[in-house]
Amino acid sequence: MRTRALIRLAVVLSVAGMTTATFAASQADYKAAYGKAEAAAKQAVKMKTGWTTTDKELKAAKKAAATGKYDEAVKLADHAKALAEASIAQAKEQAKIWPEAVIR
Amino acid sequence: MSTIRFRAVSSGDTTVVQSLIQHPMDSGFVKDKKTGKLIPPHHIEVLEFVHSGKTVFTALWGPAVSKNPYVKFAFKGAKKGDEIKVSWVDNEGQSDSLTAKIG
């Protein structure tokens, strides 16, 4: 009984330990995430398909990182990357289907 | 160039006056977007319309009136060709006036 309880406790603690280890982002993690997001955002701007929200998220990520909140910063950077990629996908799709919308 | 635009039309004994005045009418509560500082109040305090030596309309304005204010009112006792003098003074001591005829 006691052994099982101890095992359970050990499992819980190790999972908690693992969880904390997985989610504790470092500055390096943030820099990598931000780098990817910024590259995608630049690509969108180059294609003239940037979204204003992408830029906002990037700024928010930078702000979070500046105060050491790397977990949040990585989340925001990842979101910014997703927005940038969505805007690029939008442009690619629209380039093909816009003629369908034209009044003829 | 005058800051005052004026138009007045008489019909019978009644004259309808319209006037548009060019003025920033800054309330003093708005911040300059670039500097973050408050834009100081700069608004008309007194606006007057005078006909035949008599003040027929006075407006005592403050920060609540918007930019480039427009006024419209009617009064009795004037006729076409009469002159009306419009004048304003603001909180900075600036002023302008215009004398125009009723059309």
């Binding site: 204003t52 929200t53 927005l83 939008q90 380039a95 816009w98 003629p99 | -």
Partner: protein, 281 residues
């Protein structure tokens, strides 16, 4: 012999009309007809010339307010300023009026035009700044104030004339027109709206508190005094703000795409009167 035939064919095909995806020919005249029919069918009780009044042609209450505000148009000050600026001498003695035919009077309806020498679409705003630059003067902010004043004056002198945009039979002009048409119908921004989403599909309907103007003749009243802005705004101002409103990054004023869409939209408004400068809610 066969080689010559192939070369001949290649030359013929190469100089033919630019083709769209799906091999559709760029046909401004056909587009124009279809565009006009769409709107006249959608609003059968509207007089053709009334489309240029945007939301006021769509809403009775707004129209009443507009008629009342037009007794003392809020853009009057801008027109006066613009007139002054046209004849104020530069440091070199020339004036803004010297850069335009007929001293800039009664010519607004010809803009934008396709410049065959540079292969570019030239809008009125661009022409103004090109003139200033050429004469060593400081260029104007494209979106408001002095640029709005100058274009307001020029529009005012063209009242009574109809929009008269020409698309020469030049593949570059047709390509610019086509790019403008593409821009108009392309969804953009996080809200995924195209210009057409609001000004074609939702024309006459409400978007929050605004009544949406129909795209037919939508530039004929520019520049405008917009109560929303508390001041004047040019075509550049409207294009950039429309972009940010759908959460799309605005392009630089007078970006090639903006000039192309202005070319397209102005052409669609051909034959309708210039009523600028206008006032809008």
């Amino acid at each position: 012999m066969l080689r010559k035939v192939f070369i001949a064919l290649a030359i013929i095909v190469g100089t033919a009309q630019p083709l769209l995806a799906g091999n559709m020919k760029v046909d401004p005249k056909a587009d124009f007809k279809a565009f006009r029919e769409y709107f006249t069918k959608k609003f059968p009780n509207l007089q053709l010339n009334d489309f240029v009044n945007g939301p006021y042609s769509m809403d009775v209450g707004l129209r009443k307010q507009w008629i009342s505000i037009e007794q003392f148009p809020p853009y009057e000050f801008a027109v006066d300023k613009g007139k002054e600026m046209m004849s104020k001498p530069f440091k070199n003695g020339k004036t803004l009026a010297d850069c335009f035919s007929n001293k800039g009077v009664g010519i607004r309806q010809n803009y934008p035009y396709f410049d065959k020498k540079t292969g570019e679409v030239v809008t009125l705003e661009l022409a103004v700044n090109q003139c200033l630059k050429k004469n060593g003067e400081k260029t104007l902010n494209y979106k408001k104030d002095d640029m709005a004043a100058v274009t307001a004056y020029m529009a005012f002198t063209s009242r009574g004339k109809n929009m008269d945009i020409k698309i020469p039979d030049d593949p570059r002009a047709l390509a610019a027109y086509n790019k403008g048409e593409e821009y108009f119908y392309t969804r953009r921004g996080q809200f995924n709206f195209s210009c057409a989403s609001c000004h074609v599909q939702l024309a006459g309907k409400h978007l929050r508190t605004e009544v949406l103007a129909p795209a037919l003749g939508i530039l004929n009243a520019m520049p405008i005094y917009r109560s929303n802005w508390g001041g004047m705004g040019t075509i550049s101002r409207r294009f950039t703000s429309c972009n940010t409103q759908v959460r799309a990054d605005a392009l630089k004023p007078q970006d090639e795409l903006y000039r192309d869409v202005e070319y397209y939209l102005s052409y669609m408004g051909n034959g309708l009167p210039i009523v600028g400068p206008g006032s809008r809610p």
